[in-house]
């Protein structure tokens, strides 16, 4: 079986801090990590490999620095790594990103494609389903359990308060939830191999069979009109009133903050 896992290098948003004076994001010194849902997807692929035997490729679109994350994937047990990188691909929205990914993936053989549900920097959850659409294959989102049964894939697909047990034929794309599994650690020896022996295949613009109209800023239907920091925390307020007034006060505040 051939599995392709799409992974993205993201800033560790849990480490992001706001500048208390300007209210802007402090991005300096924020470590880059493999997107957690994608890592769960890679782990799912590696477990299928452990159990049934499979060739696992990881593919990422991003800047040159994403090579480090691809080496991490190799050190976890992936067999091959591809980096799609070119300035022409920059500023792609989810539609353009999925067009590029689909075109790149179409150059490879695959039975199963796994993406993370969503990336923690963008939180869109759109690239997986849109990639499947471009490839003309089914997608099963929000996978919380996955196993291979003969020539079909059985997936427990999560909804808010219920799940579907779904059976699909290959090829199929699934999007993995972080809670799908606990990803394995790398091993020290595999880290050495990943840096000293493994090769990362780099694909630039000419290597990806996709139309110019579908890539980058010009190929993106959506535009960011503006971005701004989340409203700063107002200084806390403290009241000392009767019980009813207190309840009313809390209730209004929660409502105001969309917490109800």
């Amino acid at each position: 079986m051939k599995i392709i896992v799409c992974i993205k290098q993201v800033p560790d948003t849990t480490e992001v801090k706001l500048d208390p004076k300007t209210g802007t994001l402090i991005r300096e010194g924020v470590p880059s990590i493999m997107n957690p849902d994608d890592k769960a997807g890679l782990e799912a692929a590696l477990r299928i490999k452990d159990e049934h035997g499979a060739h696992v490729s990881v593919i990422s679109m991003g800047p040159f620095q994403a090579r480090e994350m691809l080496r991490e994937a190799l050190a976890m047990g992936a067999d091959a790594a591809y980096l799609i990188t070119d300035r022409a691909f920059a500023a792609s929205d989810t539609w353009a990103t999925s067009s590029i990914l689909a075109a790149a993936i179409s150059k490879l053989d695959y039975d199963l494609i796994i993406t993370g549900r969503q990336a923690i920097d963008g939180d869109t959850a759109q690239v997986g389903p849109e990639t499947a659409e471009h490839l003309g294959i089914p997608n099963i989102s929000y996978a919380e359990e996955v196993h291979v049964d003969g020539d079909t894939l059985v997936v427990k697909r999560q909804f808010e308060d219920y799940s579907h047990l779904v059976r699909a034929k290959f090829p199929v794309l699934i999007t993995a939830l972080g809670e799908l599994n606990k990803p394995r650690y790398m091993t020290p020896g595999a880290i050495f191999d990943a840096w000293r022996e493994a090769e990362i295949v780099e694909w630039n613009r000419p290597d990806v069979p996709v139309d110019d109209s579908n890539i980058g800023y010009r190929g993106s239907p959506t535009r960011v009109a503006k971005s701004f920091p989340k409203t700063m925390k107002a200084p806390g307020m403290k009241i000392e009133e009767g019980v009813e007034e207190s309840v009313e006060f809390i209730f209004d505040k929660l409502k105001e903050k969309y917490l109800l």
Binding site: W95, Y162, L165, V172, V224, K226, L259
Partner: protein
């Protein structure tokens, strides 16, 4: 045909097992605002099997038109048949805007549809409006783990599509006297290679407690008085869809298990809402929760250090405030 020819605000009415999801009604409420600004009307797409009777509810909550595909194929949500149905309706009516709930269904269906009709899609919006001058549809959403807000536009493609975070938009009051048009949309499904089968529908069983994953934490400290008072906190947590957590003093006293402890020797949490009840706010406790998005503290001691980190501080008797707050929240849910 130019983009000016696309007219109308459409929403997708999510129903699960014959029941309309709350977000479906919230979307109609928002769509009404947008339609007013654009001087157009609101159409609602309803897909499912034996769901036609839901149309009158959608009209009562503000739909001008309800476009229905009622077919056995749509009994349980499956990506491909729903994509085919929604795509066919969009291609037929050519709306300017289409909204979906940012739910496990909406966030699967919408990108598939956007991919198929080649248009832009903005995920998980928390604010939508129309620019008063340009009449441009603006979609605002959190990104970067909620640290940054971005306003997205879709200048050259139609419809503009968005998924909208549940619980953010406000539904209109039900008005059964409202009138609307019901259209049964004729569509023949094509069983292609994207079809798959659902073998089983599994209802969710209760999950293991993990306070680090909870969006809302109602946390109790020594000021709770005794173990039985935590039932009261559980009531509030249930009303808010959250979990109960506690300070170390509570664990040491044996009132709550260690797995619920927040703080230096417990867990570090960062929920959207943290309600600290009877917690004085020792440095060890603050270390585990001060990154929470919104902190409410209730304590009878006006000098308790917890008030230094709280967004809302209430000096008062939690034993009276908490039950009343719970009741009020439950009552508001009923509405």
């Amino acid at each position: 045909m130019t983009i000016e020819d696309y007219k109308g605000v459409f929403t997708f009415a999510q129903q699960v097992h014959g029941e309309l999801s709350n977000v479906s009604l919230e979307l109609i409420g928002k769509a009404r605002d947008l339609a007013q600004d654009l001087q157009t009307d609101v159409s609602v797409i309803l897909l499912g099997h034996n769901v036609s009777h839901l149309a009158k509810d959608l009209i009562a909550f503000g739909a001008d038109h309800v476009i229905i595909i009622d077919d056995p194929v749509l009994d349980e949500y499956r990506t491909e048949p729903y994509t085919q149905g929604v795509t066919a309706i969009i291609e037929s009516y050519k709306p300017e805007i289409v909204l979906f709930g940012a739910t496990a269904i909406g966030r699967d269906l919408a990108p598939r549809v956007a991919g198929r009709i080649h248009t832009g899609l903005t995920a998980d919006c928390t604010s939508l409006d129309i620019d008063p001058e340009s009449k441009e549809f603006r979609m605002t959403r959190p990104a970067f783990g909620g640290n940054l807000m971005a306003t997205i536009i879709c200048p050259d493609h139609r419809p503009s599509m968005a998924t909208v975070r549940p619980g953010v938009m406000v539904k209109e009051l039900r008005d059964d006297s409202r009138e609307g048009e019901i259209v049964n949309f004729d569509y023949t499904f094509e069983e292609n290679q994207c079809w798959f089968e659902i073998e089983e529908v599994i209802k969710k069983v209760s999950h293991k407690i993990d306070i680090t994953q909870a969006k809302v934490l109602v946390s109790g400290g020594r000021g709770m008085g005794d173990a039985s008072c935590f039932e009261m906190l559980q009531g509030l947590a249930d009303a808010l869809g959250g979990e109960v957590s506690c300070s170390r003093a509570v664990v040491d006293a044996g009132w709550q298990p260690k797995e619920r402890q927040v703080g230096q020797t417990g867990k570090t949490v960062r929920p959207q809402l943290y309600i600290a009840c009877g917690i004085s706010g020792a440095i060890q406790h603050l270390a585990g929760m001060e990154e929470s998005d919104y902190i409410v503290a209730i304590n009878k001691d006006p000098d308790a250090p917890i008030f230094n980190v709280a967004d809302v501080g209430i000096v008062g008797d939690l034993h009276r405030i908490v039950p009343m707050l719970t009741e009020k929240i439950l009552a508001s849910r009923q509405e």
